[in-house]
Amino acid sequence: MSQSYNRGLVEDFGRWKEFSAGMWAWIFHKFTGWMLIGYLFTHIAVLSSALSGPEAYTNTLQGLEALFIVRVLEVGLLAVAVFHILNGLRLLMVDLGVGLEAQDKSFYASLVLTAIITVASVPTFMTEVTI
């Protein structure tokens, strides 16, 4: 059919309300994966300050750590990493064909666990920082 109305891709995300567990898991995993690789590049860039000598390195790191916003971002990073790890484990199970029937439950479990771990880690991350 040459003449036909193609509803196209626009609708895919417009239909987010209709997504099921597996689709959300996929989107979150993708999102967290991209964040992590983005962070890896940033991380190496930050660590590269070591090339300019020990003081530069220490100053850069401690300077960053003194910033409240960096601490918040770190907590965010932890959340992202934890979810990616937990869901990654879920995916590895799925790849091995284990527990496929419970795939939606394991996704919800990853979310809940991520939340718990993130909250629990806040005190550790927020020590010695002033707003």
Partner: protein
């Protein structure tokens, strides 16, 4: 319109098809008058009432339908009524141009997969009473719409054909000798679910990856290949050949285990499981040569 609908029992069909685009939004008054509203109702609660279905309309040729729209139809409810029954009623009573594929009415021909209330379902296998109201009926997403609820299935068929969906025998006996190839009941059981596919396309339509990558074989085709690859009658050499097709770039690896295919399949085929098993088989096969 709404004045007519004060008495739902004796509801008249709007005669003029042109009008239906215009009467789209249901106003509050109708709801009070015994129309079914949002929640899924018990079948007994629906008895004697009408259900509102909102059907996607589009026709590239007909003026006024070139811009997609939703038409409302009020269909008298009967116990046992399926989504397919409802659209058939709407077509036969209100608007004969309402177009959709259907044939067997018993979930074997796979013609009537629609997007019903945001999920791919077979019209004939979905009870109206199990749905939230009003019921929104659209063509399958991710396929081009030909007209109303009819989508172009060519791409789906192409993908199915790509996996060489036919038995490839190495050396079968002469049929005249009435000698069959042996197959253990266990092996037959293994391929049982995969062999139930009715080519409805629901799975393919639900898969985000298939939507993004037109070359992705898709769950149905991979499942078809599974049926042959796991059948002991074909033999190892052919199984390897099949895996070679499946492990192409746009084969099994594209699957991101979203599970939506498995969720929508009206034949309850464990599609994700089959795809994952083939991934492992393919890896195993490749490891052998290392």
């Amino acid at each position: 319109m709404s004045t007519q609908q004060q008495q739902p029992e004796t509801q008249e069909a709007p005669e003029d098809p042109e009008m239906k685009g215009a009467e789209s939004p249901v106003d509050e008054k109708e709801k009070e008058d015994g129309m079914i509203d949002q929640t899924a109702a018990d079948a007994s609660e629906l008895e004697g009432k009408t259900v509102l279905i909102k059907v996607f309309r589009y026709d590239p040729e007909v003026e006024g339908k070139q811009e997609p729209r939703f038409d409302d139809f009020h269909v008298p409810f009967e116990k046992g009524m399926t989504v397919l029954d409802a659209v058939m009623y709407a077509r036969d009573t209100y608007d004969s141009s309402l177009t959709f594929r259907h044939s067997c009415r018993q979930a074997v021909c796979g013609s009537d997969a629609f997007f019903v209330n945001g999920k791919q379902r077979l019209g004939c296998k979905t009870q109206i009473a199990d749905l939230e109201h009003p019921v929104r009926i659209e063509p399958l997403p991710h396929q081009e719409v030909v007209k109303d609820l009819v989508v172009d299935m060519d791409h789906f068929y192409d993908q199915m054909h790509t996996v060489e969906p036919y038995f490839q025998d190495e050396d079968t006996p002469n049929p005249a000798d009435l000698e069959e190839q042996r197959q253990s009941p266990e092996n037959r059981e293994k391929i049982k679910m995969s062999s139930r596919c009715i080519w409805c396309g629901a799975c393919m339509s639900s898969c985000n990856i298939a939507a993004g990558d037109n070359n992705y074989l898709g769950p149905a085709a991979i499942n078809k290949a599974y049926k042959f690859a796991m059948d002991d009658r074909e033999g190892e050499a052919i199984k390897e050949h099949r895996l070679r097709i499946l492990e192409q770039e746009h084969g099994v690896w594209r699957c991101q285990t979203q599970f939506s295919c498995t969720e929508v399949c009206p034949k309850d085929i464990p599609l994700t499981e089959h795809i994952q098993e083939l991934k492992r088989e393919a890896v195993k096969k490749n490891l052998k040569f290392w």
